[in-house]
Symmetry: C3
Subunit: 662 residues, 3 copies
Amino acid sequence: MKNKLYYGAAWYPELWSEEVLEQDILLMKETGINLVRIGEFIWSALEPEEDKIVIRPFVKYIERLHRNGIDTVMCTPTPTPPIWLTHGHPERCYVDESGTVMGHGARQHICTNNSYFRERAAIITEHIAKEIGALPGLTAWQLDNEFKAHVAECMCETCKGLWHIWLQQHYSSIERLNEAWGTAVWSQTYQRFDQVPQPGPAPFLHNSSLRTMYRLFSMEKIAEFADEQADIIRRHSSAPITHNSSVAFHLDNERLFQNLDFAAYDTYASQENMHAYLLNCDLWRNFKPGKDFWIMETGPSFAASLVSFGVPHPNGYLKAEAVAAYALGAGAFCYWHWRQHRSGSEQTHSSILSAWGEPALGYDNVLEANQARQEIEQIMLSTRPLRADVAITYSDRTKAYLATEPHRKLNYRSLLGDFYKRILHMGIHRDLLPEGGDLTGYKLLFTPFVHYLSPEYVQSALSFTAAGGIWIVGPLTGGRTKEHTIHTNAGLGELERLAGVKTKFTYPLESTGTIGHAFGVSAPLSLWSSVFEPVSESASSIGMITEGVTPGLSFLTEQPYGQGTIVMLGSMPAGEEGDLMLCKLIDHYAERSGVTVRSDVTKGTIVCPRNGDQGELWTIINMDGCGGSLTLPRDGHDVLSGKSVACGPLSIGEYEYRVIRL
Amino acid sequence: MKNKLYYGAAWYPELWSEEVLEQDILLMKETGINLVRIGEFIWSALEPEEDKIVIRPFVKYIERLHRNGIDTVMCTPTPTPPIWLTHGHPERCYVDESGTVMGHGARQHICTNNSYFRERAAIITEHIAKEIGALPGLTAWQLDNEFKAHVAECMCETCKGLWHIWLQQHYSSIERLNEAWGTAVWSQTYQRFDQVPQPGPAPFLHNSSLRTMYRLFSMEKIAEFADEQADIIRRHSSAPITHNSSVAFHLDNERLFQNLDFAAYDTYASQENMHAYLLNCDLWRNFKPGKDFWIMETGPSFAASLVSFGVPHPNGYLKAEAVAAYALGAGAFCYWHWRQHRSGSEQTHSSILSAWGEPALGYDNVLEANQARQEIEQIMLSTRPLRADVAITYSDRTKAYLATEPHRKLNYRSLLGDFYKRILHMGIHRDLLPEGGDLTGYKLLFTPFVHYLSPEYVQSALSFTAAGGIWIVGPLTGGRTKEHTIHTNAGLGELERLAGVKTKFTYPLESTGTIGHAFGVSAPLSLWSSVFEPVSESASSIGMITEGVTPGLSFLTEQPYGQGTIVMLGSMPAGEEGDLMLCKLIDHYAERSGVTVRSDVTKGTIVCPRNGDQGELWTIINMDGCGGSLTLPRDGHDVLSGKSVACGPLSIGEYEYRVIRL
Amino acid sequence: MKNKLYYGAAWYPELWSEEVLEQDILLMKETGINLVRIGEFIWSALEPEEDKIVIRPFVKYIERLHRNGIDTVMCTPTPTPPIWLTHGHPERCYVDESGTVMGHGARQHICTNNSYFRERAAIITEHIAKEIGALPGLTAWQLDNEFKAHVAECMCETCKGLWHIWLQQHYSSIERLNEAWGTAVWSQTYQRFDQVPQPGPAPFLHNSSLRTMYRLFSMEKIAEFADEQADIIRRHSSAPITHNSSVAFHLDNERLFQNLDFAAYDTYASQENMHAYLLNCDLWRNFKPGKDFWIMETGPSFAASLVSFGVPHPNGYLKAEAVAAYALGAGAFCYWHWRQHRSGSEQTHSSILSAWGEPALGYDNVLEANQARQEIEQIMLSTRPLRADVAITYSDRTKAYLATEPHRKLNYRSLLGDFYKRILHMGIHRDLLPEGGDLTGYKLLFTPFVHYLSPEYVQSALSFTAAGGIWIVGPLTGGRTKEHTIHTNAGLGELERLAGVKTKFTYPLESTGTIGHAFGVSAPLSLWSSVFEPVSESASSIGMITEGVTPGLSFLTEQPYGQGTIVMLGSMPAGEEGDLMLCKLIDHYAERSGVTVRSDVTKGTIVCPRNGDQGELWTIINMDGCGGSLTLPRDGHDVLSGKSVACGPLSIGEYEYRVIRL
């Protein structure tokens, strides 16, 4: 996987005539496509009738691609079970929260926990793996397609049974479950595990533990399915296995990728949300440290379906996206999709070729991005992304807690995205790390919006802090137990002792007129907050509440811990002043913790630092089409032009990219 | 039907005492009512117990009305099946898209495809037809009431079976269906027709062909029910048969009226939407060419139910509405309803009399409208509406395609209404024609928002163009096949060859900053668009894209075709400048095609041209209550005052109407 | 119940350890808590397995509280039936309007009409009553908890059967039902009672009578359940029985409290809605005249759940609330809840103590409110609220009619709240009376928004008027019959004869440009209106319509009746001018009817008048935190400071309260 930068596209040879396929391969080569993903929706094609399985045509596609210098990612076809598997079997289908049973249609309409589905999925995957697993053109496997993109927690009878087993395994006795969940509230005490409901229709809210645990159960089950499928493949193939995931799906990606070989994801952010695009790069790089991540799907221009569409990319942006991906650690940048569908429900989605075989919107941009890929390929292959000084914790499990308890429609992705954007715009290089990510070597750690902090995470963060790091905890962090209940020893549990603070109150600050003051700035405070009193001798208040219902208390404290510092951020500064305060906070602690992997690059332009045998390499890219500038800290060498670049101010043109060895 | 202008009202004698009915008939005569519609909700009254059928009272009502000089429209009572037909039989009831089974209540709660319903409907209609079909007072039949007003496609088991038969009939083999619909996308390939689902609950979107075909199937089935009922009536009656339809319902009106004798519809547009009122007149005139259409229901003042209400008409507006209807081709103008209901769920709806027998709001306006009717009756009876020079295609089938693929909540009615309004305000007389409408004699044809162009339609439009007409195709027209898939030979299929263009790209222009320039105007372009390159020698670009992601391409082209011209309008100009551009476009092509049936009447006032033995007749009506003016092209004769009117400027007072023979 | 002002909190001893309970009781005493409510969610705790009932621990809690000087309100635990009662028994569960069956979870998930539920509820309540009914610490009973807070009308099979019996009892024969409901409209005529549907899914609106009667049926059934439970308790206890109700629930509170001993309610209005808080005080005082009402639940600071939260009270407001409640007739002011839940779905709700046993937000305010309570206790115990001169009719039954017929999303609570607020802000003391409230002694009566006026109510209002009162009828009042149909003798039925008017038209005035003129003010008129012609000799028009579709008609008339006057207000003046007109109207009739229990207190400050042996007592409270003022009509004596206060201007500080004997 490591001798080229992959430039790929999803291909559906099962849908087109031989004549079209011939044209496709010719044009792929012209376009620079060196990787093709096939097979995620071909179950009916492979097994049109139960047990009548023919894999051969796909062997031939892969061989043909290989002959043409194109590698293949082969998918398992489980997201779209054939009609013979679901027809007349509503009990195998997905049931949503309202109790509605899905019919055949769209995709993900089956319950992935259904045992007959699992059996048939194992059979088809085994057949594919056997016949395709050792083909020379095969470079990787993708399991299924976008697990849990359209569905969340299934409420079918199969899941009910598994849920009861899961509970039994987690709680041993029903008494322990009752105690853990506090079911005595509202008289919900269960006598037996088989009585514990799935969180379906109810007159009002379910118990928070029930709701959150059902989400975690569901996340675990889909990961187990992935494990099961991967095991089958590995019996027949040594090609690495991944999945095209996303932060938007109902998944615990950290758990999902635990047993997979490398990380991949799909993204369709429009230019307006470029920070979401970059957040993904900074995150997925860290699910499988040391390995390239792949962008398995992105649009040549825009995403669309029968009922919605995104904004087409401005010319130039695609190239900037591709260069940014490679520079931030991507091993592949792949399009969905090669040729426009003529049928289905995504006919309007942007593609490289139209359904009538002509270049589609963005085709020139695809060529341009390929040219850029070729220019930077060798440099990227000989260097690796630099670890950042700043880590931000990303937690899919927290999504489960926040979905159960959104306070007022809070959404983890947008909360975290906004938080991330600020650091991005400040020119600070950053890693988003899953909860279990290794914190060694970082200088500054942010843990925002994580309702529940696991003991393992706290231990890791404390080690980081003890070794001299600054750990910024909050907002909205630490106030819930693993079981999604409230701590009964202190507002934030053990964390308070470590941080030397006492949570005086936790309450919602919206509409209370609360003003906080820190770093010389006064700003409104927002969100459900913890307000503190420093209680240890060494703890101090850095941000004070000056107006509202709790004046005189603190929303920001500091406490030395080992060689480092624990900073508690109990509330979210809001508005323009809040933004300013947060920037000052970030700046202050970046400075103090010795963060150096940063630049003064202007907003809309990014620096992607890498290193290799020949030292540090900066890829500088203008993403907003307005051009930008930065100060080069030392003299450098422009790898693409071969010219040297003096330290000092450097301008970057519209969508321009520069690769400079410092 | 042709010796008077009907002025009617819906009457519910089954609800009131003899004393009230006596008063009703006296007052009807005072009010000028010469037509009464009865019977659409009387099934329970006629057949209180299964097979115990008594029609006699309604015979007597009709005879009594007849004795009082009032004609009757008799309805079949099928929209509200009695309780004995549905109680204990959920399997006979309508099932909505989410799978919810309707209970007894409201109306249209039964599945009109249920075989037992069909059987009982045939029996009751036969009984009615036998006893009432030959009564001298009977002037027409109305089938049912507002088919598919409250419901759309039924998802019951009966419909499932019929759906499979329909598919078998349309596609012969399952392989052909799979090919036609492209079911290989997402592995939806069917093995047998009985596996093809109804488009009920699914995790994401259904295949577009499935979704659209189910809509067309449903539209066909309700029309078959109408055919079946009409056949029964015709065995016993020679009175013409219609239905009170609407552009708002889930119907293919062209198909529905195919086997009916004349067209009728209901409208409750408030003055604010007067263009919708006029659009209806210009459309329904053309479902049964040469025959009067009827407005079967309109409110004396406002529509209302328990949960909503419209805006009462300003005084004067009702008269303007009635005159406009008659002048634009209506043979009847009927109110819903005569006497306010005391119960049910539409008690608050405007009526001529209140529930306590007093004149209701708008009563004076009803008298005034009758007076106007009387004034113009003989003139209208001796003339016919003039065919317009401009035709606009109206397609209910397109509604089915757009409902499946709304891009972003596009709505055919409002798209078309806005398009129509512009032509109306420019003083151009216009006909809205169903897809199969005869284009002979028109000069300018607009075909906007028709996703799928049938070969028959294209042939008809080409004949029109070959003969010298100008055909303006678009926006949003021609990009889909009959099966609701994408063309695979060109973006707009065969059309491109005819129009001498190549669709370079199809994509959504919203938020891309795209600007088009044509007719000296620069305007933002919007909607999902096709952007062109003229490719034939004779093709030329009339409108160029100057900004956005595809500058230099065309959104408006011209190509000579026979004696005429094909104009491709690939995009929708937007905003004030877009409006100006469209007006210039319309003006330009109206001029060039020789459109003469138009005037310079001011917005809010309309000219309704008719002709007869004595030449052309203009009915000029102020509809907005502000008065207006126009230039009379030649000297005329005011038929109502008997005075002559000089050519040149003519003022029209508030809600005034003038009838001028030119 | 009458030797103290109760200051209470809800307590959940079943959830906590002995250690915590010990701390709780100590802190309750410090905080001034002298009343505790327990038991509303303890069914599982009492009867963990069917028929295995242990009440003993709760006997001990009550005894222990008693030993510590704290009285107890014991609840029946029926809102949250245990899992053994619902598991495997969906037929016992609540079914909502869409047909969705609730699963176990949250609360109110069972159908309270289910016979097995009733049986088990009777058994558990009898056990509780037997063991607890005679305990010295027991001061009152609360039935269940917030009946019908989360659910409305159940659609289960049990309810269907009861509905048919209810109909049989109310209508004797199906013919009478058909006639009463006018079911002939839309052919809905029933043959037998068992055919009458519950108002579940239907393609359009149900018959208004069906819809409204089902609501009234449901309201009656829940009250019958309360009666049944109260009877059981009374066999074993002489403590008075109440329920913690609300104007927000699906209840007829007048009927519910008919057989209960005193009135109580829950309120969580934030300061912004302080008028809603005061409206409650003015209403609940009058459900059980002469008896204190209790505020059974209010938040120390704010309400919240997992998915929403209210605005925390500003410091000072809680004290003002408590003093206002006591001064307006409350015998108890109780918090929900004492100690924050650690689990469930209301963990975030404000409480006195946190889940970790520390003072929660608002704790200081709770202390402050207790101090105020102590200051005023003796004065309040020796006086009673003064009857107002002005009565406003409150009708939960009207909520049923308006819910069926909201015109355009009208909401009784907000309509009435806005109406009430105006009178409040004018410094007029007022009583909200249920429909059956005794009108003797009042001077001015408002009956706004009551669709159906019962004969009993009209008789009562006429007696009041005959004796010299002024009765202001409307807006939206009197236009419907008991059966929720339209009158057939006159727009407002008999009322018109009494008021000497004829309703010319009833119609919606929104968007018609209607302007009315009265009391020297011209204002837009709104809502569905009745417009009048005075027809009796003594009737006169006070407010004329000057613009719109019915100029020259009246929207406001006066007619002498006995010693008094009937004023018909047919429409709702709107906007700022409408507000001014309404204030002038209120002022005018208050003046004319001799209303004296009022003051010129500024908006945001209130006067709560009481009287006792020593004369009239004014409690003046600033509620908006801005301070205020009023003119003291005569010299008085400040009971709290012991100083005299001269008549004339008096200032009130921020959140200050003064108690002045005049």
